[in-house]
């Protein structure tokens, strides 16, 4: 790839001022805020009976819930597994799953992973600690494995007549036990933490989780994407180093499309503030890619 000769490669330098640092952490702070506020809304409704005008604020959990007693929401992957058990479900949960699917179809399926999922702070912490302690990978696991786990979850649901992943999902387990009372489910999450810390980098979210795989497939055509400005990019590689799904930052593909097209991108936006050239930004998927290099 030709780069402008007068364009020196700079690396990311953390801002000196605290305000600058916070500005660079803006998406991280926003992500934690959304994650914990969603959790708090569920928790407050279940434990303290939060309500508005007599209607429960957000009753249920990420598997299925109801906002203000009117808007149903449901985990489309859980509902898909339940449908495969050949049971007739009430319309609420089907409508709820359709609503959630529609939203993630637009904003990117794996936006759930980085902005909503309660396991994300755990695995992010494991990843951060792993970096600090410089722990190497124990062995190589293909990232495609999660799609096989997804397929297996669907096959087992049909064969055994129970929602195969939903029953053992550490995501649902953690979320539920935070909201309704803690049990041994938290050990499953400790397992994920140790796996991510000591065994495989981004092991759970990046290699195994079938819910993430489901959302990656759902988010293939998402409207909200990280846009890529190819002329500004010096290929310094800072974005690839912080990305939990480095394969999605394929410069050739990104340059051709003007954006990150892979559904595996979780819109976590780690790459945006770290880019020294400001070549990565949130934007919308538009028909004509803005790539002057390619006859734009």
């Amino acid at each position: 790839m030709d780069r402008p000769a007068n364009h020196p490669v700079r690396l990311y330098t953390p801002p000196a001022t605290l305000a600058g640092k916070f500005w660079d952490w803006r998406y991280l702070i926003l992500r934690r805020l959304t994650q914990f506020s969603i959790l708090a809304l569920f928790l407050g409704t279940a434990r303290f009976g939060w309500e508005i005008a007599g209607r429960p604020l957000l009753s249920g959990n990420l598997s299925a819930s109801e906002l203000l007693g009117v808007l149903p929401m449901a985990d489309p992957f859980a509902v898909l597994q339940q449908l495969l058990t050949r049971h007739l479900l009430e319309s609420e949960v089907l409508i709820g799953a359709a609503i959630v699917m529609g939203v993630y179809f637009l904003i990117g399926g794996r936006t759930f992973c980085a902005w909503v999922c309660p396991v994300n702070p755990v695995t992010d912490f494991a990843g951060w600690l792993r970096n600090k302690l410089r722990i190497p990978n124990m062995f190589w696991i293909p990232r495609q494995l999660r799609y096989w786990v997804l397929a297996l979850a669907l096959v087992l649901s049909a064969l055994l007549g129970v929602a195969a992943f939903e029953w053992v999902s550490p995501i649902s387990l953690l979320h539920r036990e935070i909201i309704y009372g803690a049990g041994l489910g938290l050990t499953a999450v400790a397992g994920i933490f140790l796996f991510d810390l000591l065994v495989e980098k981004h092991g759970w979210c990046g290699h195994l989780c079938p819910l993430g795989a489901f959302y990656a497939l759902l988010g293939r055509f998402a409207l909200l994407r990280v846009r890529f400005d190819d002329p500004g990019c010096t290929r310094c590689g800072e974005c690839v180093r912080v990305c939990p799904e480095p394969k999605v930052l394929d410069f050739k593909l990104a340059a051709q499309n003007g954006l990150i097209i892979s559904g595996a991108c979780s819109n976590c936006a780690r790459c945006i503030p770290i880019c020294p050239e400001g070549s990565l930004k949130f934007g919308l998927r538009v028909r004509a890619p803005i790539t002057p290099n390619h006859g734009g």
Binding site: A64, W167, G185
Partner: protein, 257 residues
């Protein structure tokens, strides 16, 4: 070409083997965890346990709707199927709200909306341990009878004459036809460990089958094999019940029973 084909075949078989191993382990875990549990007492209107296990999405909206905090969500390692709602009557029983607030919030129909009358729900069946029931031991208790919300139908008090004492025993009997399994009796039972408990009916309830006829009960019509010929006189009526219970003549003299 040959080696590439061989490589592909070996890779496919290896992949299938890994998937099969993973599937078996996962399936085993599910059969341990996701099985229908006869020990779990479910909310009113719950589908038969196997269907309930398939349809409950474990969202806890029923538990949120319960005004008495009766319903709990099973945590991992609690012995109940993970994440499903259940209740422990000795701690908090089901108070049988007439509007059944826990059923409509269920988004999947694991709690059936066909349940309109709470007295028709069958969460379990009260079972009495006669060896440790105060009433069966000869004391006056009948607490279960008094707290029962389906009073006089789910639990009745029978009086039994005793051989060596002139005091009769007043013993509670549970009737599966009307017991909802709400567990108010289990909670109220004054013994150290409840002598009346709610249990999944399948663990204790027998079935007489089709071929027995309780000929003395009017609702059991005589089958055509035994149809009386038109000429025979009607069967003799049962002798009138004694006006007083056995023992009453000496015990409570002068008091109308």
């Amino acid at each position: 070409m040959q080696t590439r084909r061989r490589e592909f075949l070996v890779k496919s078989v290896q992949g299938t083997a890994i998937a099969a191993c993973g599937g078996l382990l996962w399936g085993h875990l599910l059969r341990q965890e996701a099985v229908a549990s006869v020990l779990a007492l479910r909310p009113p209107g719950a589908l038969p346990e196997a269907d309930f296990a398939a349809q409950c999405i474990k969202c806890g909206q029923c538990a949120n709707a319960c005004p008495y905090d009766t319903l709990k969500m099973a945590t991992a390692g609690s012995g109940m199927p993970i994440g499903t709602p259940y209740f422990e009557p000795r701690k908090i029983p089901c108070y049988m709200c007439t509007d059944i607030p826990c059923v409509p919030p269920c988004p999947t129909g694991a709690l059936s909306r066909n349940l309109k009358d709470i007295t028709k729900s069958r969460m379990g069946l009260a079972v009495i341990d006669e060896e440790n029931c105060l009433s069966w031991l000869g004391l006056r208790c009948e607490v279960c009878y008094r707290v029962c919300p389906v009073k006089g139908r789910a639990i009745t008090i029978e009086n039994h004459p005793r051989q060596i004492s002139k005091h009769a025993m007043f013993v509670p009997l549970v009737h599966g036809s009307d017991c909802t399994g709400c567990g108010l009796c289990e909670q109220a039972c004054p013994t150290q460990v409840a002598a009346i408990r709610i249990i999944n009916p399948s663990l204790v309830q027998g079935k007489i089958g089709e071929h027995y006829r309780l000929g003395w009960k009017q609702e059991n019509e005589i089958t055509q094999d035994f149809q009386t010929s038109p000429g025979t006189p009607p069967m003799a009526e049962e002798p009138p019940a004694p006006k007083t219970a056995p023992g009453m003549d000496t015990l409570n003299q002068g008091i109308e029973y």
